[in-house]
């Protein structure tokens, strides 16, 4: 598991993603809340954080989270997402050979939080990292799932003079939070 994680981390960082690993969900949550505060998330305009549903949140006291970091909302709408600085969602799988995150993104909320805000925080179980795209497509089958998203690093362009520039239409930062003890990850 460690070598797979390390391989994933190397590839993800090579495309400018930031990778953090925590043994428990509680530690991961603490990191995320700290990160949101540091990033200036608040209930001021353009400063919110939208958090899409996922098993990571099961059992969490959402109201407490909102108190800890005012500006967090769990009601993901187009308007809220467009108005937010940070989007948080849970990813289903990852690919170590390319540093890619993969998600059943049929629920529009999951796409909104990972496309519109400038920062995307992606939560992932350590045991969800697979070797290649083929293995992932055996779990997330296009025959059954209407929208599958693969995310490899933040949004980028090289369309002007081939100079790599991060954050065109999608997030400019991708923070990947990997959690070892992830009890109830959705498939």
């Amino acid at each position: 598991m460690n070598s797979t994680f390390e391989a994933f981390k190397t590839k993800a960082e090579a495309v400018s993603a930031e990778v953090h690993r925590f043994p428990t969900q509680a530690e991961a949550l603490a990191f995320i809340l700290g990160f949101l505060q540091e990033s200036g998330v608040s209930d001021a305009p353009q400063c919110g954080a939208v958090w899409a549903a996922g098993s990571f949140l099961d059992g969490a006291r959402k109201d407490d989270l909102k108190v800890k970091v005012p500006g967090i909302t769990f009601e993901v709408t187009k308007e809220a997402s467009a108005d937010s600085k940070v989007g948080i969602s849970q990813l289903d799988w990852a690919i170590s050979s390319t540093g890619t995150l993969v998600q059943d993104a049929a629920a529009v909320e999951k796409r909104l939080v990972s496309t519109l805000p400038t920062i995307h925080v992606a939560i992932l179980g350590t045991d969800r990292i697979l070797a290649d795209m083929g293995s992932v497509l055996e779990h997330l089958r296009p025959q059954q799932i209407d929208y599958i998203s693969f995310i490899t690093g933040p949004s980028r362009t090289a369309d002007i003079e081939r100079v790599l520039t991060i954050g065109v239409h999608g997030p400019a930062r991708l923070i990947i939070v990997v959690v070892d003890e992830f009890q109830k990850v959705t498939a």
Binding site: K11, V15, T77, K78, A82, I95, S97, T98, G99, T100, A105, A106, A107, V108, R111, L112, T115, L116, D132, M133, G134, L137, R141, P142, Q143, I145, D146, Y147, I148, S149, F150, I151, T152, G153, P154, S155, R156, T157, A158, D159, I160, E161, R162, V163, T165, G167, V168, H169, G170, P171
Partner: protein, 712 residues
């Protein structure tokens, strides 16, 4: 060639932004591509792609039916049509029915192919491209110059000007700021649009899935925010199975941008909920527009294996000089020439097919394993069949087809050229021919051709048990007989008698490369007869273009002409044919030739000729021989990039040939070698002529000359 076309080339060549940007890019590209493929078996990957795509193009109809079924089962509407007008009508009708006012698009070449934006705008809709490069060229009222990087021809200053003039005044040429500006300006458009239009990189029949890749994330927004999503998909994007996605996505990002994977890949397999909870209107248009005609043409069917990675643009020595716009409005570069001929019309490819210098650089790197130069030749042939050869060309080939007349004219040339020659070069030619000597001196026709001088060589007939037939080719026969004499000398050392059949004639390459296949076919027949008349172990040539003609082109020409009469003999000749360096290396390995030892001959550099390296696959042999002889080889940058000669190319498009040569000379000089060696008399003519013109004291010679006196 039309004047308009010639002018577009001139303009491109004088655009130093363009040539500078493309030149730098093509250099960086090779490195990043190679790095991205580390640990990946490229050959195995492209074999898989070929299998997937050729299977698909054998049964487009079946896959299209299956795709429609699968996608419609998941809530999409699939519209199939072969007619671009119907595509536009479908979208316009839909837009009208749904009251669409604002459209956002992510990159779709198929939509450009049918000029969709114009039609939508004419119907009063506001249409915005959202891929940054596409947006820039949309604002600048231009067309894409590159399949992957549409605005690669523009500088940041030009982009800032376009933004200032078209969107908001005062934009500075600062790339991060320009990108931010685009984000800020396009964001409200995404949010307000009622229809999103995308293309697709892959369409999977089994699951009805569209696979869309982008780096910017715009396709995710286009397919998520507006309530209607229309995808325009050329049927060549169809593959049978979900498992076919991986090999294509292994190659596409690596070949296109040197990435392991594009930032975003979306696999859309059904209508998902909209942001307001209503179900997405998902319309998929499967567009044929001559693709199935292409699939029915056995020669062009492989072109449907293209995954649009643009490698064939990035590594093309011509593309990097002239950029995309001279190729036309939608598809550019080598593959673009082929696609334009089919999706638009053959006539449209008339001028642009001439741009391909036939160097073959794109072939080993194409993930679809498409023989791009081969198909461009075939286009050329068909164009000649359709509209006939020009009178001048007819006259030339009339002569080439008559060996006696052709050869007596060449002999005469050695007399008539006298007033223009200095030493062994022609430096000036009168009037209209002067273009040919503008950037390099031409070799003078030798006073006596090889076919005469070879008879005076006293070959060790008594001892020799083995015979080898020598095919000289026009350049060695008439301009460089000393190369032929050296070859005889070396083979004699191995106890081999060299036979020169007098009836050998032009190899037909000039005719073939100009689409005159009948002439090439006649040349082939004459040569087959002449060369097979003597029992010999090999037919050797020191000209790679001729060797390729004998080994491959004769057979291909007969195939194209549907002429099977001489096929068996053509195959026999092909099996016997060998290039000079490969034969000599073989004789050395067999112990039949031994190089003198202990020589220190100094530093040289080696130029790989296109046909030798890429068709005959000989690049180590000459190097090893030269090293064994006592040379040290200082490799030049881009040692296997074309020198710009390419037969009549340098006559038809001297403005392109010249800068390609200039680049080559620069790389030769940078090595500090006193000599550049190569295996092709055509390259010697080009490079020696260029060095002479430029006054550089570097010798250019054929490997056969370098080795002439090196054997025991």
């Amino acid at each position: 060639m039309t004047t308009q076309f010639k002018e577009s080339i001139e303009t491109a060549l004088h655009n130093s932004n363009l040539t500078g940007a493309l030149g730098r890019f093509s250099e960086a590209y090779r490195i990043s591509r190679a790095k991205a493929y580390e640990g990946i078996d490229f050959e195995a990957t492209r074999d898989q792609i070929v299998e997937i795509k050729s299977d698909a193009s054998s049964r487009f109809e079946e896959l299209a039916v299956q795709f429609k079924q699968s996608a419609e089962a998941c809530g999409a509407k699939v519209f199939r049509t072969s007619d671009p007008e119907q595509v536009k009508k479908y979208i316009l009708d839909l837009a009208k029915e749904k009251g669409v006012k604002r459209v956002v698009k992510s990159k779709s070449m198929a939509s450009e192919e049918i000029h969709l934006n114009k039609a939508l705008e004419a119907a009063g809709m506001e249409v915005d491209e959202t891929d940054l490069g596409e947006w820039i060229i949309q604002l600048a009222h231009q067309t894409p110059s590159h399949m992957v990087m549409p605005a690669i021809h523009m500088t940041k200053e030009e982009v800032a000007t376009v933004f200032s003039e078209e969107v908001e005044e005062g934009q500075m040429p600062d790339i991060p700021k320009l990108v931010k500006f685009a984000r800020a300006k396009l964001r409200p458009k995404f949010l307000a649009a009622d229809m999103g239009i995308t293309g697709a990189n892959i369409a999977v029949a089994e699951s009805g899935s569209l696979v869309i890749v982008t780096n910017e994330g715009n396709a995710r927004l286009v397919s998520t925010l507006p309530g209607i999503h229309v995808a325009i998909v050329g049927i060549e994007k169809l593959v049978a199975m979900v498992k076919d996605i991986q090999p294509i996505l292994t190659a596409l990002p690596r070949s296109a941008t040197g990435q392991l994977l594009t930032s975003y890949v979306s696999i859309i397999s059904g209508a998902v909920p909209n942001t307001d909870g209503t179900p997405k209107e998902l319309h998929i248009i499967l567009m044929d527009n001559h693709r199935s005609d292409m699939a029915k043409d056995p020669m062009f069917k492989p072109a449907l294996q293209c995954i649009r990675c643009a490698t064939c643009l990035n590594v093309c020595p011509v593309f990097r000089l002239v950029g995309g716009h001279v190729f036309g409005k939608t598809y550019t570069g080598g593959i673009g020439t082929i696609l334009t001929a089919w999706f638009d019309e053959l006539k449209k490819a008339d001028d642009i097919q001439g741009l391909c210098i036939q160097c073959g650089s794109c072939v080993p790197l194409c993930p679809g394993k498409i023989d791009i130069p081969g198909l461009i030749l075939e286009l050329r042939r068909r164009l000649v069949v359709e509209k006939g050869q020009s009178l001048a060309m007819k006259a030339i080939f009339g002569v080439v087809n008559n060996r006696r007349l052709f050869h007596s004219m060449l002999r005469m040339a050695s007399v008539t050229q006298k007033p223009f020659t200095t030493g062994r070069f022609i430096r000036h030619l009168p009037l209209f021919l002067s273009d040919m000597t503008e950037f390099r001196s031409l070799p003078a026709v030798a006073p006596s051709p090889l076919r005469d001088t070879i008879k005076k060589i006293d070959q060790p007939k008594a001892k020799a048990k083995e015979k080898v037939v020598f095919y000289a080719g026009c350049l060695i026969d008439f301009c460089y007989p000393e190369m032929g004499e050296s070859l005889v000398k070396i083979l004699n050392k191995a106890g081999i008698e060299v036979v020169f059949p007098d009836d050998q004639t032009c190899c037909g390459a000039p005719a073939r490369y100009n689409g005159a296949y009948e002439v090439a076919g006649q040349n082939a027949k004459d040569n087959i007869k002449a060369l097979l008349a003597t029992e010999a172990s090999y037919v050797v040539s020191a000209c790679p273009t001729c060797t390729v003609a004998l080994k491959h082109d004769f057979i291909d020409t007969f195939k194209s002409l549907g002429d099977t009469g001489t096929m068996a003999d053509a195959e026999k000749l092909s099996a016997k044919t060998i290039d000079f360096s490969t034969l000599i290396k073989k004789l050395v390995d067999e112990g039949r030739l031994t190089l003198k030892e202990g020589e220190a001959l100094g530093k040289i550099t080696y130029h790989d000729s296109c046909h030798l390296k890429r068709t005959l696959k000989a690049s180590d042999e000459p190097r090893e021989l030269l090293k064994m002889a006592g040379h040290e080889i200082a490799e030049m940058y881009e040692c296997d990039t074309c020198c710009g000669m390419a037969g009549s190319y340098s006559i038809k498009l001297p403005e392109i040939s010249a800068p390609i040569l200039e680049r080559k000379l620069k790389h030769i000089k940078e090595t500090g070698a006193s000599k550049v060696v190569m295996d092709c008399p055509g390259c010697v003519m080009q490079i020696r002529g260029g060095l002479d013109k430029d006054g550089t004291p570097i010798r250019a010679e054929h490997t056969v000359e370098s080795l002439a006196n090196r054997f025991k």
